[in-house]
């Protein structure tokens, strides 16, 4: 059974829809990531699931329980906030014990469960500390333990890593992922960071202006983005405008290139930089291109290309060999396999 189902969930603020008929399902044990730019409705979605804001219309179900009108304290949902939101007046132990005390568990059980939860986040030795005496990363781990100890039906995290500095962020990210796998708890994490989303999520939900743009695995979203919005939000890409017909796409500048899938009615295609194969000379499979700019990135080299018609492409290829010696102004060849040319639908429309 699905752990959580959102059915046409909507939240209006005045006549502005912060979240607009959003439907999705979280499977048992699944790690789902809500990804989108600031203001697209991620937090509002999460807060409706937690019960902090009331849905205008639509339904939230936890297992087979309709919880749309349940107050937060009866939902059994673990929530982790961006700024930790620990109880500053309580020790780490009491912070974690809070949910168990509300459930009137016997003292002995509280002791063992809190100790186990703190062990999971490797903070066994910190039970007597006050939150103020801990680093940001430690505080966030306490918050995670506090949310997990109640054995929630689902775990919600709203940008839990964004208050941490870069190094800690990676560390806590790995830990979070390992913990989620270990416990097999259905999880929704909100972020605007695509790296974080790609590395954590079993599935990603890309949101834009209160709506779902696309739902899929990181690979699906990267390889088959449904829209230019998704394509530009996940990874980098070259976007070429023009007209498609059958298996051929012709850019505005008149460059015509073959595609693996039919591109009828397609006005924009995406080519990922690393899908372009560079060679020192043009040949049957490689169009002539002039190097405009070379950027050495260590393992990869990024080359900006100008094509005869005026199209510009950014290509990225493993460094080494002739590529290390390439210079701006030089003429080389750029090969674009037909399957690397991805037709994009109009904004918001799903196309596969």
């Amino acid at each position: 059974m699905a752990a959580l189902v959102l059915d046409r969930l909507t939240k209006h603020y005045g006549d502005h829809a912060a979240v607009d008929t959003l439907s999705l399902t979280v499977a048992d044990g699944e790690f789902l990531v809500l990804l989108g730019p600031s203001g697209c409705g991620k937090t509002t979605t999460l807060r409706m699931i937690a019960g902090f804001v009331e849905a205008s219309t639509g339904q939230v179900s936890l297992g087979d329980r309709d919880i749309t009108r349940e107050p937060p304290h009866r939902r059994n949902i673990g929530v982790v906030f961006q700024n930790y939101a620990l109880f500053p007046h309580l020790s780490v132990f009491e912070n974690v014990a809070f949910g168990l005390r509300r459930r009137k568990r016997p003292e002995a059980e509280i002791k063992t469960r809190v100790a186990r939860a703190l062990g999971l986040v490797r903070l066994d030795a910190f039970a007597d500390r006050m939150p103020k005496q801990m680093s940001g990363g430690q505080q966030q781990r306490v918050a995670i333990a506090r949310a997990l100890v109640i054995e929630p039906d689902i775990l919600l995290l709203d940008e839990p890593l964004s208050a941490l500095d870069a190094k800690l962020r990676l560390e806590v990210r790995q830990e979070l992922k390992a913990l989620q796998r270990l416990l097999g708890i259905a999880t929704i994490l909100v972020t605007h960071d695509q790296d974080e989303a790609m590395s954590l999520g079993d599935r990603l939900v890309v949101m834009n202006a209160g709506r779902v743009e696309q739902i899929g695995s990181p690979q699906e979203l990267y390889r088959q983005p449904a829209s230019r919005f998704v394509a530009s939000f996940i990874g980098r890409g070259n976007f070429l405008e023009g007209v498609g017909a059958g298996h051929r796409f012709t850019t505005r500048h008149g460059w015509s290139l073959p595609t693996a899938r039919p591109v009828d009615d397609v006005a924009t295609v995406l080519i990922r930089p690393e899908a372009i194969h560079l060679a020192p000379t043009a040949d049957a499979d490689r169009v002539p291109a002039r190097v405009a700019l070379v950027t050495y990135l260590g393992p990869m080299t990024e080359v900006v290309l100008e094509l005869a018609g005026g199209d510009r492409l950014v290509a990225e290829q493993a460094s080494g060999g002739w590529l290390d010696r390439v210079e701006p102004g030089q003429d080389i060849g750029a090969g674009i396999p037909p399957e690397a040319v991805i037709g994009l639908g109009a904004e918001g429309a799903t196309r596969t």
Binding site: F52, P72, N76, P88, H89, F98, R102
Partner: protein, 274 residues
């Protein structure tokens, strides 16, 4: 040029320091003077004093007016403080958290007793109470509930000010976290919100107590005939005697309130909450 600037800066700093100390002096001198006077042995004030004694403090023990006044003031102030907090805690929560039409208006309304002169409040309430009594036969003027109710008006603005200042700094996510962990509304209030605004709560109680305890103007209109609060007792005594008894009463009052401030500072750190 450089020296001129330095001189100017130095002069500015001196002037600033001077102004600060002058301000302090202006505030403290009368209090210190009262303190000094209360130990004079002569009945008619004159400088220098004939000698020093504790007779005015001893005399207080036999003056029923002052003792009864002190007890009534204490009772009224405690009740008005508790009632003020009972109203102000929920009001502050709503005013800080809520985003609704009329929020500003309600806030200003609750703060109004700070702006309206107390004598006007006293007179207005007196007239109002009399009207109510004429209409309903409920004797409010001269009754204990009437007097305490009027003092609650004084304590509310102070409580609201201090509590809202504390609540603004409280991250609502902390309360939401408590809710998600299974705490219902009143449990959140008791276990999370109130403990976190505890310093504001203590300071609010203290300030409310002090304004109520020291109030003369409102009580003057509303005490029952024959009853007096401490400030009224002082006023009545002054009408026909001018010996250092008043200075002794005032000194005791200052000491009492000073001790309250000191204790509060010890418990919560006043600089942090006011």
């Amino acid at each position: 040029m450089v020296t001129g600037d330095r001189l100017g800066e130095r002069f500015g700093r001196l002037a600033y320091g001077g102004a600060v100390w002058a301000g302090f002096g202006f505030l403290l001198l009368p209090i210190l003077l009262v303190l000094w006077l209360s130990f004079f042995s002569n009945e008619i004030l004159s400088l220098p004093p004939d000698g020093y004694s504790l007779r005015w403090y001893e005399g207080l023990l036999t003056k029923r007016d002052f003792i009864d006044g002190f007890i009534l003031s204490l009772e009224v102030a405690v009740l008005a403080t508790l009632a003020g907090l009972a109203v102000s805690v929920p009001a502050s929560l709503v005013l800080v958290r809520g985003r609704f039409k009329g929020r500003e208006a309600i806030l200003n309304f609750l703060m109004a007793p700070l702006i309206v002169p107390a004598i006007v409040i006293g007179a207005a309430l007196y007239i109002f109470f009399i009207q109510v009594e004429i209409a309903t036969d409920i004797p409010l003027a001269g009754s204990a509930p009437g007097l305490v109710g009027a003092h609650v008006l004084l304590t509310i603005p102070w409580c609201i000010r201090l509590l809202t200042a504390n609540l603004v700094g409280l991250d609502p996510a902390i309360e939401e976290a408590a809710a998600s962990l299974g705490a219902r509304g009143w449990v959140i209030l008791a276990r999370v919100t109130l403990p976190l605004i505890w310093p504001g709560l203590v300071a609010a109680a203290l300030f409310a107590f002090v304004v109520s305890f020291g109030n003369l103007e409102i009580s003057l209109f509303l005490v029952a005939p024959g009853e007096t609060t401490l400030p009224i007792a002082i006023l009545q005594y002054l009408e026909w005697k001018l010996d250092p008894t008043i200075a002794a009463v005032s000194t005791l009052q200052v000491v009492l309130i000073g001790a309250g401030l000191f204790a509060t500072d010890r418990v919560v750190g006043l600089a942090r909450v006011v």
